[in-house]
Amino acid sequence: MRMWPLSTYPRYAPDWLDLHPEALIGGILEAPAAPARCAIDNLEELRGLPGVETILTASEVPCYPFTTAGQPEPEPSPYDTLILNPLSRYPGEPVALMAASSLDALYHIRQRAKITYEPWYGPLHDQHPNNVAEAVHYSSGPAAPSEADSERFKTTIHVGRVSHMQLEPHAAMCSFDEENRLVIITTTQVPYHVRRIVARALNCPVSRILVKATDVGGGFGGKQEVIVEPWVAILAVKTGKPVKMMLSRRQEFILTRTRHAATLTVESQWHGRQIREIAMSADVETGPYASHGSTVAHNMGLKSLPLYRAEAYHFNASVRYTPGPVAGAMRGYGGPQGAMAVETHLNQVAARKGLSPWCLRHKVLAQTGDALDIFTAASSFKRIHHTNLRNLLSRTRDAIGEGSPMATGEGIGLAMSMQASGVPGSELAEVSIGVDEDGSLFVKTGAIDIGQGARETLSNIIYDALQLPRGHVPISFSMGQTQDFGFDYGTYASSTTYVSGLAAYKAAGIVRRKMESLARSMMRHSELKDTPLSECWTALAHSSFYGPRRHPVMGHAVARPSDSPAPYAIAAVRLTVHDNGELVIHHIVIGVDAGKPINPRGFRGQIEGAVIQGLGYALWEELELDHSDTHVLNPSLFDYALPAPQDIPPLDIIMAQTEDPTTPLGAKSVGEVALAPIAPAIVGAIFRARGIWMRTLPITREKLWNALMAQRETVTPS
């Protein structure tokens, strides 16, 4: 049962904002064009408008560079942004921040502001004269494999940028507490990173900032970015009053984050049915600020190439600063782009070799014990594959009905993907569990329930570790309240079950040992009969506060796993492409190896949601830019196409029934893995249906129709 998200009590950040009518309303004056140096000509007039509290321009705010990417230190993303940047690098970027007593006053400022701009033709960042934020080169295996009797293949694909489209917009409020600390109420996946990043932007100690994370109305990585928080914080500091700000839907599209657009090329060299060498090169458009750019680019290779056995691997990526919206973390984190390239490549190789995509994968799939970290130095910790996917591959193949007769225009496609369970070697989670006097438990953690079911998952882990029947005692959570401690790197990288769950498991183990010890001591003094712990739980809890051996029970544990086992997904799609370009998906089967499900309904929900986001990525969604690649053309739900309930195909989920050996929970992660293989599976199915390769996402009906027309013209004899 997941009843609490049905509650209508104030629990999202926008609700808390609306409960504070006394707070000033924050807003932004947006850059009309970019890249450009913008100026407000009538600043003094605007400041004199009724209701206007302050208008801050770039010269009036602190200039401490930071990154908006919510990642632990040492932050892999460059510090290339300021609270307000003197050079506006994308349309909609704040030229000035404003705070006023009413929305009408903000409206009047926007109406009257005379913003002039001087276009900028130089590099977007001075320290990167060629607009390359980072270039990545990795290689492993023999330097130059022999060329004799080998075949070479090459595939190039392009993926567009898409928006997270969380239903709840970014919203935050900053006020002051009795000790003059800044209290930030915000909707975020990374409360502790918000605290640290705002402290860096304002150049103040982290202890001056309290972050109160609210329930999150959809994250998908978009709330792993610290966007609104520094703005409300500086407005509150400058005015000395509480300030709140919520972005509009249009602003969500243009000034939050997107998934990286990229062009990827995969080349491979084969000897019979073995890969000698596979090389990926990625041209990644990260937008005008790098944000997660370099780590996402790394993951395009690291989440796709290790699925297959090769003698040598090569990965090159160029992360480019580009005008237009800023790209950032989004569900899949490089995986969808990487899978689209590598899986399409494998499907093309299979077609060229006259093999079925299933058969080819049986030959080249990695085995248990093969390296996952294909590029790390020999000395450091190397992750390996823990499972062999061939059985799951066969089960998926049988479920989609491969080999059964096909109608005209019908085809079956296959693709695979993998993710991680937390950032390898860079995770930390702290969980405290206390037993209250009535036996109920309170749990303090920095992990957030962003809809994935973290509360149910952590509850189940705690009940199981305490060996109590699930639901035996109530559990209340404090999630993401930095004043309550419970440090956590945050809810991202599919880490909550594997990392925070492990900390909860350990903390619950401590609580159990303490309760058992209390029970033994009470039995020795005949205060308690020899009964199972679950039956005397409440009496023990009461006694720990009021009995002769009173000592309230609390368990605190930390998890910092060095491993990060990979969950896998195998997608099979059966579809028909009609002559008019209409694409009908009849069935999707997704085989998932994510270890033991701890919260089965949440597990299923994560897969279903990811599949549909993957379907949107494949077929409809794209944040389109104008001819100069700067302005977003479709920043509204009227123009941005999303999957609708009528588009949802029948979906079957096959579970691998494995348990991961690296954790006592047996569970890996499931949040992101099912998204990536959908697009390449559809591409593969379209090829088998019609013999055309769609290499650019999204595969809109228009593109498909054009491709069918081109094919018809080519094959018709003149």
Binding site: P5, T8, D104, H164, E168, R249, R601, Q613
Partner: protein
């Protein structure tokens, strides 16, 4: 700044059976009134253009996005939000079914889905799968991919039809 025109108007809105007499700006939308003045948070901002369904309320028993309604024009309408339907048995069944099916992941879109589903099952108790999908197509749910809400509503429909 000179104010030449009247900007605030008196409005009478009947929400969940309570009559509220308010003075609001002429352009204030019902969503703002519900949230900021009446503190009814089940109507939520998602887009402000009527596409996402997060702000749906019942106006004379019909689900309507409240971001498209002007508060000053509501005096003849009976408005109901999820908060006012706590005693409704069909809604209670839907809520239990949603909870069982894990149909509310982040829960932001859920009040709208529940109100539309209740309206559909009231007007058409044996709604087909395609009618269910059509009804939900005025809502955006980014978390669930619609599978779980559709299952939850179908479950209630099947038990409801038997009753």
């Amino acid at each position: 700044m000179p104010r030449l025109l009247k900007t605030h108007y008196s409005a009478v809105v009947t929400v969940n059976g309570h009559v509220h007499r308010l003075t609001v700006p002429g352009h204030e939308r019902l969503l703002t009134t519900l949230r900021e003045r009446l503190h009814l948070f089940s109507a939520r901002y998602g887009c402000g253009t009527g596409h996402c369904g997060a702000c749906v309320v019942l106006v004379n028993e019909e689900p309507v996005p409240s971001c498209l309604l002007l508060t000053v024009r509501q005096q003849k309408n009976r408005i109901q939000t999820l908060e006012g339907l706590k005693k409704d048995s069909l809604l209670a069944q839907l809520m239990t079914s949603f909870a069982e099916e894990h149909a509310a992941q982040c829960g932001y879109c859920t009040p709208g889905l529940l109100l539309s589903a209740r309206h559909l099952l009231k007007t058409c108790p044996s709604a087909t799968e395609s009618q269910l999908r059509e009804e939900l197509s005025s809502h955006i749910c980014r978390c669930t991919g619609y599978y779980a809400p559709l299952r939850a509503i179908a479950k209630v429909r099947d038990s409801y039809a038997v009753d």
